[in-house]
Amino acid sequence: MIYLELFLTFLKIGALSFGGGYGMISLIREEVSSFGWLTEEELINFIAVSESTPGPIAVNMATFIGSSQGGILGAFIATLGVVLPSFIIILVIAAVLKNLLKYAGVKATLDGISPAITGLILGTAIIMLLGSVFGVKTTENTFLFDWKGLVILGVLTTIYLIYYKARKKAFSPILLIIISGAMGVLFYM
């Protein structure tokens, strides 16, 4: 039953992902690949779409994956699943447990989680990088180095750092996506 699978998977993602959109990616990546809903490449493509369209990344991903697996009803159910835990948890906190975050035990638990989230995001990025630039996916894969990918990465890093040094703020992610798309056309056509 695809609808139930979608609902439960996104319920789990909504209930257990901390640290916003990027904190969710490691979990979404595992779930999506274990069900065979999207390939790694399709997932990364879609993260780019989520980043360049308005709205929360998590909702965008749920809608897209839901739609690709079960049409508009699938999209609706997956979105409902990812939003529901937030809605309930926040409602309970706002209405009843106003001081929840001030309890030392809760704070200690959340403080314990935060380095793991940082680790998960960095780990996901490194694994994706190994997979797409260096061609290492598992031990069985052959080593396929993509120097063009490395050049693109270098250009993006340079732009980002120079802009940050000059303006003290982050370069627009959408512009970075457009620049890398143009380089993609130039390099891979």
Partner: protein, 196 residues
């Protein structure tokens, strides 16, 4: 009734105009609710952000639900949450209908090979930003390094190990260390009392 409609429309607008996820939305929410309309004061807003960041789920949804409740109870929170999702839902649903055909156009495929690198760069830079911000305690460094190393090893050897476990284990670790410290400090106090 008018208030609910207004709340709904503001959230719809915010959902439509925030690019780049939760943190971008927080800036817009602050402008609409604190600066422009003064419906929520600064302290309350700061509390809201702390709660939205540390509870699970999308930060945007967490903030919308919280503000909705503050402004109009359960109905308010329901309206705000739905409103903030509607634009995303419609836009992404429409994209999903055409995306597969679109991505197979030759130059689009090429462009997306470049864009994939950019996505990885964006994830990496989000991680590095968190790395810079986090307190460099022994606990944090150990958990972070252990998570990264484990993840890479699991991935290279194709072992299934869900991210959920990293989150649960580190949460339990954080709590246990706190409880042990509490126990030790109580014991010390207890001993002190015995002697006196």
């Amino acid at each position: 009734m008018k208030k609910y409609l207004k709340l709904f429309l503001i959230m719809l607008k915010i959902g439509l105009f925030t690019f780049g996820g939760g943190y971008a939305m927080i800036a817009l929410l602050e402008y609409e609710f604190v600066t422009k309309r003064k419906w929520i004061n600064n302290d309350e807003f700061t509390d809201m952000v702390a709660i939205a960041e540390s509870t699970p789920g999308p930060i945007a949804i967490n903030s919308a639900t919280y503000i909705g409740y503050k402004m109009g109870g359960v109905l308010g929170s329901l309206l705000c949450t739905i409103a903030v999702c509607i634009p995303s839902f419609i836009i992404i649903y429409l994209i999903s209908l055409f995306f597969n055909a679109f991505i197979h156009i030759q130059w689009v495929t090429a462009a997306f090979r470049g864009i994939q690198i950019c996505v990885i760069f964006l994830i990496l830079s989000a991680g590095i930003k968190m790395l810079i911000k986090i307190k460099k305690t022994v606990f944090n460094i150990i958990v972070m390094v252990a998570t990264i190393v484990c993840m890479i090893l699991m991935s290279v050897f194709a072992v299934d190990f869900s991210s959920i476990f990293y989150i649960l284990i580190s949460g339990v670790l954080g709590l246990s260390i706190y409880l042990i410290k509490l126990l030790i400090s109580k014991k010390k106090k207890g001993n002190g009392n015995d002697i006196s």
